[in-house]
Point group: C2
């Protein structure tokens, strides 16, 4: 644990920044860790000056443990660190978000996030933001029992029939292009992009790929200007 | 304001749930509001028993204002409510997330979220989760000045040439399909999905459509089993 704990590093810039925060009477602000790829809120703790300066210096999410009265770097025992990419503070400067990539499950229970418990409300709920909730729904379809004689869902049919799935993806890509080619306007664009996104997420489920792997890939590319580098290459000829 | 303030509604189920939370010595838990479509953290406040029961009853994010010692429903003056779809609590039950759809900007400054201030770190930062950061980068390309003689970025070239853009989208859709058709494995699937997602997001920028509109559309569809209803319809013939 001790060696993996991030240490505060005092610099004039960091000290000047810390002076602008609105600390509570215990010298703390609320600190929230968020997954940079999925947007999932991973955990919430508190941070004092040293916790924030240790996070800035090490880029590992670090908190102040109120029960043990000491710094605590998430991952110092589990080695599941949260690698911080961005820190932002709220308008009245008493709350801070660590936006980062977790090495593994954040919760000590092994759950991806500490917020795995949903409060019962009247209607069916979404446990994650929309795309990740849709991904879960698609994953459930893949393994659900289908009673003899019952019709499988559209999602399940696509999962069982790669030819149908691929013909739908090519069709939806074409319909999305037609919104530009035929100037069909914003409403149709929204609808066709939703069609394409849904059908290609079904393909991801068939290939056992998580949307998070795709967003991580995108982050690597545009973070390193990978997408922009492509501009030096001529576009490949269109397939088909 | 007063009329728009949500009122607590006591039911045995809600009271039983509230009894399981770990309240601090002021009877509060940390309460975080998150955008269900984008994953953006909108604001952070505190909630007491009444604030949570008012939120559950009204489905409008409601907090306890420590400075005014009273309930406060986000939107009671601005009418920008946060319509709560899901509530979750963390593993030690002292922190709560309201996941909802905001009617408009959450911050009193007019910013979409209260966390609009980024802390200066060494490297370029991402202000939102990956897909929304990519959307911002694509939007910036659309309006950037290109010095005479300089080569535009790949993104800008796509934005200026609908024919090139559409041929790329159809190509990338086909390449994604080929990962299934030719059993190309997970790594290629990730890469091709990233290609398709990026290029179709450039199309969204051309059509002035926000990714958030697409995820809202997807949430409406699968929330109402709209996608599943499609299974009753035969697939349309493939275009092209
Ligand atoms: Zn605040
Ligand atoms: Zn690591
Ligand atoms: Zn936990
Ligand atoms: Zn379509
Ligand atoms: Zn907690
Ligand atoms: Zn509303
Ligand atoms: Zn604010
Ligand atoms: Zn290609
Ligand atoms: Zn490709």
């Amino acid at each position: 644990g001790e060696l993996a704990r991030a240490q505060p590093v005092s610099t004039p810039e960091v000290e000047a920044f810390l002076d602008t925060l609105k600390w509570d009477k215990n010298g703390l602000v609320v600190a929230i860790a968020q997954n940079v790829d999925t947007g999932a809120i991973l955990m919430q703790g508190f941070a004092n000056r040293d916790a924030i300066s240790a996070t800035i210096a090490s880029r590992r999410a670090t908190f102040f443990s109120r029960s043990r009265s000491q710094l605590w770097t998430k991952g110092e025992t589990s080695h599941n660190f949260i690698h911080v990419q961005d820190i932002s503070i709220d308008c009245d400067r008493d709350s801070i978000v660590y936006l980062g990539q977790p090495d593994g499950p954040t919760c000590h229970t092994g759950a991806e996030t500490c917020y795995y418990t949903s409060v019962p409300m009247d209607e069916p709920k979404l446990l994650a933001s929309t795309l990740y909730a849709l991904e879960e729904l698609i994953a459930r379809r893949k393994t659900e029992e289908i009673a003899p004689g019952a019709k499988p869902s559209w999602t399940r049919r696509l999962q069982q029939d790669p030819k149908l799935l691929c013909s739908k993806i090519r069709e939806e890509a074409s319909e999305l292009c037609q919104t530009v080619e035929a100037s069909e306007g914003m409403e149709r664009t929204v609808s066709e992009m939703a069609d394409l996104l849904y059908h290609s997420m079904v393909l991801l489920s068939v290939q056992n790929v998580k949307l998070e792997e795709v967003t991580t890939e995108l982050r690597k590319r545009f973070g390193q200007s990978g997408i922009e580098e492509k501009s030096k290459r001529p576009p490949k000829p269109t397939a088909g």
